[in-house]
């Protein structure tokens, strides 16, 4: 009847022809890695709820490791099933891409996290409190530092085993992040892996004030940046009328115009597209710690518990760059000539600022933070190559870099004095004399950072610069070379300190780690050298994984 017709709008439905909303079709098998991890996370919560305190640690560690391993197995299975190449497509109604890059990055993230969890579970380094071994996390995050409650918690032998489920949630988010095939999923994944990290940062057992401060900063800035990202999403949605990557890409490339000519005012309006794109980019650049969105990195890296720092530095970068790649290569290739120059600029300042500011750092963790910024710059150089080579080189670099970082931070956890980890560089003087092995290991990682041949760092750097040069970004290579030279300076400085300066009397001691951290470091060294000497196999992997699905 007419009245009903007249009020027809989006809000009401015509009585006749009631439409059925079809149930979404989800390929659970192809999402299995993510599902396993998130499932395990939920299980972890239940463990916290129902298992007695003494068994929790063991149970959580086991659960986490198994879950990550299983997820990795699932990734391998998918890759073997040809989802990396032939059968690559967007699963879950186009929400999540299952393709080469996604699987490669997910695999990397899972491995890195697994190794990182080893360092989380380390309980040998801190002297046992009241006869109970303790890890590097606060007995009770809520307790006021140094307050009665904390002392009681310590006496009662509380441990924050919640970190394990938190890590799993974060990992779950990271797995989705680079695979997200629409902006909404991107945003949600971003938050899913950011929120647990905020919490993790606050949970250091020693130096809790620093830890909490880092958490606040990270949280506020993170939220700030995600707001920008979200607004960017909104604008892109406004531009294209959809948030799926492919949809937007079609509109960008002018293939499809949106349905209703009445909306021409907004749709296809390039201002929306450009601003939106820029804002989304900014959100991602924040996560990878590119200048000028890097300011949080040093503070957070320094304040957070070192295992968490390692985890963040390694895994977050992988996930962030994954998403960045997908966005630039799938959504905005049509806009290459708009964003490339901008990214050039970002890459250049990131490389230079990271390298230069690091020169005068006095704290190991901050130093590594700045070096991670410089490295973000190097990776960006590969990103802007906009060739399949560029993608695979970035993938390789991420794999190589994340293990080096993880290893480096694990070594940092070993060097301790009365106040916990001795991160001030002056404390590291003469470390090579006291414990040559530790110092040598750290030196290996530093050399890898510096990109000395026969280490993975060199292979990665070469791959990225090669791609950049072929992608016509010669100047970037020059700048990269220059900043590597500057960077070399401070890596060398640390080595000098460790080997050529006399040990201090009240110098730190090097704790003897359990098998967990040891294996983490060992894996780090092994990967560093293997990727340095015989990188071909992994280059092939990355090469095959170089193509995005649309």
């Amino acid at each position: 009847m007419s009245h009903a017709a007249s009020v027809h709008s989006l809000w009401t439905m015509s009585a006749d022809a009631p439409q059925k909303i079809p149930a979404p079709h989800i390929e659970y098998a192809q999402l299995s890695p993510t599902l396993i991890v998130l499932g395990a996370a939920v299980l972890g919560i239940l463990v916290e709820a129902f298992l007695p305190r003494r068994v929790r640690y063991a149970a959580q560690t086991l659960l986490t490791c198994v879950a990550l391993a299983a997820a990795f197995a699932a990734v391998v299975a998918l890759a073997a099933g040809g989802y990396a190449t032939g059968k690559a497509h967007a699963a879950a109604m186009g929400a999540v891409a299952v393709d080469g890059p996604a699987l490669f990055l997910q695999g990397t993230i899972l491995l890195v996290s697994l190794v990182a969890v080893f360092t989380f579970a380390e309980r040998r380094l801190d002297p046992a409190a009241h006869g109970r071994p303790v890890d590097s996390f606060a007995a009770q995050g809520a307790a006021v530092p140094g307050g009665r409650a904390e002392q009681d918690a310590v006496k009662a032998g509380f441990t924050t085993t919640e970190v394990f489920p938190l890590v799993l949630f974060a990992v779950g988010g990271m797995l989705v992040f680079p695979a997200a095939d629409d902006l909404l999923t991107l945003f949600v994944a971003l938050e899913v892996f950011s929120l647990p990290l905020y919490v993790l940062c606050a949970l250091a057992r020693r130096k809790r004030l620093l830890s909490q401060e880092s958490a606040v900063k990270y949280f506020l800035l993170g939220a700030f940046s995600s707001a920008f990202l979200l607004f960017g999403v909104a604008l892109l949605y406004g531009y294209a009328g959809t948030v799926t990557y492919s949809g937007i890409a079609d509109v960008v490339s002018g293939g499809v115009r949106t349905l209703d000519p009445a909306l021409a005012a907004t749709t296809g309006n390039d201002a929306l597209l450009l601003i939106g794109g820029a804002l989304v980019l900014m959100g991602l650049l924040f996560k990878v710690g590119a200048v000028p969105f890097h300011m949080w990195t040093p503070d957070v890296y320094q304040g957070a518990p070192t295992p968490v720092t390692g985890f963040m530095a390694a895994a977050t970068k992988v996930a962030g760059f994954g998403a960045l790649l997908r966005l630039l290569y799938v959504v905005l290739p049509g806009l290459r000539w708009d964003w490339r120059p901008v990214m050039w600029g970002v890459a250049i300042v990131t490389m230079l600022v990271g390298a230069i500011v690091a020169v005068t750092q006095t704290d190991v963790k901050r130093l590594l933070a700045y070096s991670s910024i410089a490295h973000a710059g190097f990776i960006l150089a590969g990103v802007v190559a906009t060739t399949p080579d560029g993608v695979s080189s970035v993938l390789f670099y991420l794999g190589a870099y994340s293990f080096v970082t993880l290893g480096a931070f694990s070594v940092v956890t070993l060097v301790r004095d009365a106040g916990g980890e001795a991160t001030h560089l002056s404390k590291w003087a003469g470390l090579g004399r006291r414990s040559p092995l530790t110092a040598a290991t750290f030196a290996v990682f530093l050399l890898a950072f510096a990109g000395i041949p026969l280490t993975s760092g060199f292979a990665g750097k070469f791959a990225v610069f090669k791609a950049a040069a072929q992608g016509g970004a010669g100047p970037l290579v020059i700048v990269g070379v220059v900043s590597s030279a500057i960077a070399a300076f401070f890596y060398v400085r640390v080595i000098v300190l460790m080997f050529f300066s006399e040990p201090k009397e009240d110098g730190p001691t090097v704790a003897v780690p359990s098998a967990l951290t040891s294996s983490a470091i060992a894996i780090g060294v092994a990967v560093t050298l293997v990727l340095g000497v015989a990188p071909q196999y992994f280059l092939d992997l990355a090469g095959q994984a170089g193509v995005f699905v649309r």
């Binding site: 989006l10 006021v144 606050a202 401060e213 948030v243 209703d260 907004t266």
Partner: protein, 99 residues
């Protein structure tokens, strides 16, 4: 009236929020400003949904609210802990980590 105005409003709100983040000291307030920005985004989404005549935008708005809620949970927890240990919620007091 032209729905595009809602966009301008959204942009305005977003900017206000951002400005707030930049100038306010109290962590809670800063956080509220962020929420404001998120809601500005929501408004934008809904408006665009209206313009495009599809429901995606509205759905996204719901997602955003959920995410915002989650953020509140984590955020307040962190801010409260630091307030308890420092007896101040001013972000400028939290300046141990620098240089």
């Amino acid at each position: 009236m032209n729905p595009v105005n809602y966009l301008y409003l959204a942009a305005l709100l977003f900017t206000i929020g951002a400005a707030g983040v930049l100038i306010r000291r109290n962590a809670i307030v800063i956080f509220m400003c962020v929420e404001l920005m998120l809601n500005a985004c929501n408004l934008a989404f809904v408006t665009f949904a209206r313009l495009h005549g599809n429901l995606d935008g509205q759905i996204i708005a719901f997602f955003t609210m959920v995410v915002a809620a989650a953020e509140v949970v984590v955020g307040l927890a962190i801010i409260v802990t630091i307030f308890r240990s420092r007896h101040s919620a001013s972000v400028d007091d939290a300046g141990l980590l620098k240089l």
